[in-house]
Subunit: 305 residues, 2 copies
């Protein structure tokens, strides 16, 4: 095995462990499946615990570990909340009125399994429950300004100036001839980037970051988010179907304008690499060195190379 292959294996193993840990935390906040409204709890759990790396809660926790207060008591609430927001966005994305997907990673999507009405409601329920969960941190940690800032940031980055905003422009752009680079950047920044920024910034805030450190983390997160998106676009062309979980070349067949359309395959690779390098430099400047976080970011940027 090459040195890179050994390193990749180590990161993957470590990531699997963190994924299990994150899932353990998220599961603690799942509502009990009981009462007349039992079906909605089942649908929420189905959507939330469907296969995934739990990257957002992991990034949140690892960013907290870059600061002095490494395990703040509010952290688990926000780890669960951000995964709920990610999950709800997938449930609503898959609806017939949106992407109309019946399968996600080989499993029936939530509305395919529970019906369309329950798909709408399960998404609503997960979004609402995300805030219900994050707000619980006020009960024990209500005087902590970092908790206030984290709540405000979570709502902002998930909403029309964040993820939903990106989603709206993405949906509308399907009907627009001649997507320009600026509009595409906007979509990527908000649709993929905003929630990663929320995850990493909330981690930093709860860890005790000051204003300027928070800005550093936000910049790193924006670069990481964009690098992920570029990687996705590259993988759609060069990846193999089994790894990426959808048919190769689907973007081209759907005439979807991607990062590669503007930068070319080589240019896209170069940009993803330099974005990752800059993000790693940002992260290296934080008070505590977090080797796993650095390795994870580097690994995610070189997947399937």
């Amino acid at each position: 095995m090459t040195q890179k292959a050994v390193r990749d294996m180590d990161v993957r193993r470590e990531l699997e462990e963190r994924t299990l840990e994150a899932e353990g935390i998220i599961r603690r906040f799942l509502p009990r499946e009981e009462g007349y409204q039992k079906t909605i709890m089942e649908a929420m759990s189905y959507a939330l615990m469907s296969p995934g790396k739990r990257l957002r809660p992991i990034l949140m926790r690892e960013c907290a570990a870059c600061f002095d207060q490494t395990s703040p008591q509010a952290l688990p609430f926000f780890m669960a909340a951000i995964e709920m927001i990610h999950a709800y966005s997938l449930v609503h994305d898959d609806l017939p009125a949106m992407d109309n997907d019946l399968l996600r990673r080989g499993k029936p999507t939530t509305h395919a399994r529970f019906g369309e009405a329950m798909g709408v409601l399960a998404g609503d329920a997960l979004l609402n429950y995300a805030f219900e969960t994050a707000l619980q941190s006020l009960e024990t940690d209500g005087t902590n300004p970092a908790v206030h800032k984290s709540l405000i940031l979570l709502a902002r980055k998930a909403g029309i100036y964040g993820m939903i905003g990106g989603q709206v422009v993405d949906v509308e752009s399907e009907h627009i001839q001649g997507m320009d680079k600026h509009r595409l950047d906007f979509i990527h920044e908000l649709k993929t980037g905003a929630l990663i920024e929320a995850a990493m910034c909330i981690g930093a805030l709860l860890g005790g970051a000051d204003e300027s450190q928070l800005l550093t983390v936000e910049q790193a997160a924006a670069k990481i988010g964009l690098a992920f998106q570029i990687e996705d676009d590259i993988l759609d062309i060069t990846g193999d179907e089994k790894t990426i979980g959808k048919p190769v070349g689907s973007d081209e067949r759907n005439h979807k304008v991607t990062y590669v359309t503007f930068a070319g395959l080589e240019g896209a690779r170069r940009d993803a690499e330099s974005l990752t390098r800059e993000a790693l430099e940002n992260l290296a400047s934080l008070p505590r060195k977090n080797d796993f976080l650095m390795e994870l970011v580097a690994y995610l940027a070189r997947r399937n190379r």
Copy 2:
């Protein structure tokens, strides 16, 4: 004119004034319609500012006025937030997968006007923006425990243990033969009641209510919510089409089991009256007498008699 007719006219006039005031407050929190994601702001504003009495924000404000701190600085944020949650629930209720309604009070519903994908997203955006708006109160009033409690209560009463929970059971009950009274009470309590409880309890909390006063307000709100629902069911049978904004007798044609199915028309009237009387007694026990609130509650319970 009879004495009752004069009194009704006075309350209606006063209510119209309060509605305009509440709309002025809500409008201040609307996002500016600009940027690539402009359409979603337009859809949110369309849904939020469509005709309505703004009962929830009005009840919130009037409940605050039953206590010593009559205009708490956090109040406007929560008034706007609760109306946003009410508006999102209507937008998603009207979707093809749910009630499939193209008209609401004679105007095209949000998805009929903006397309189904934008209907899903506008609902999501309003729910998220409700929390974004309410959370702003932490910036100026973050150390106030009443604000913390209000945020937690808002999320709880809007979610699976509140409004969404009721909605889920209502949707599922369409396919169930032999609805029982207990299940119907559950739906009413959550689907209609929970948000009215949130409105009135948040008003009370921000006004300075203590635990026992909060309980009194919650009990009053539950009774008022149920009385409203019973009135709706009665109006569906006895009302005229122009006033209620939908065809008379639609529940019966849809084989919908309502309060009247179990209690009969006279029984339903009696129950609505005694619930209202009890609620008024609850409200009369609060520190400050609020004549308008009492008159409003009584008026709403005798609409179209």
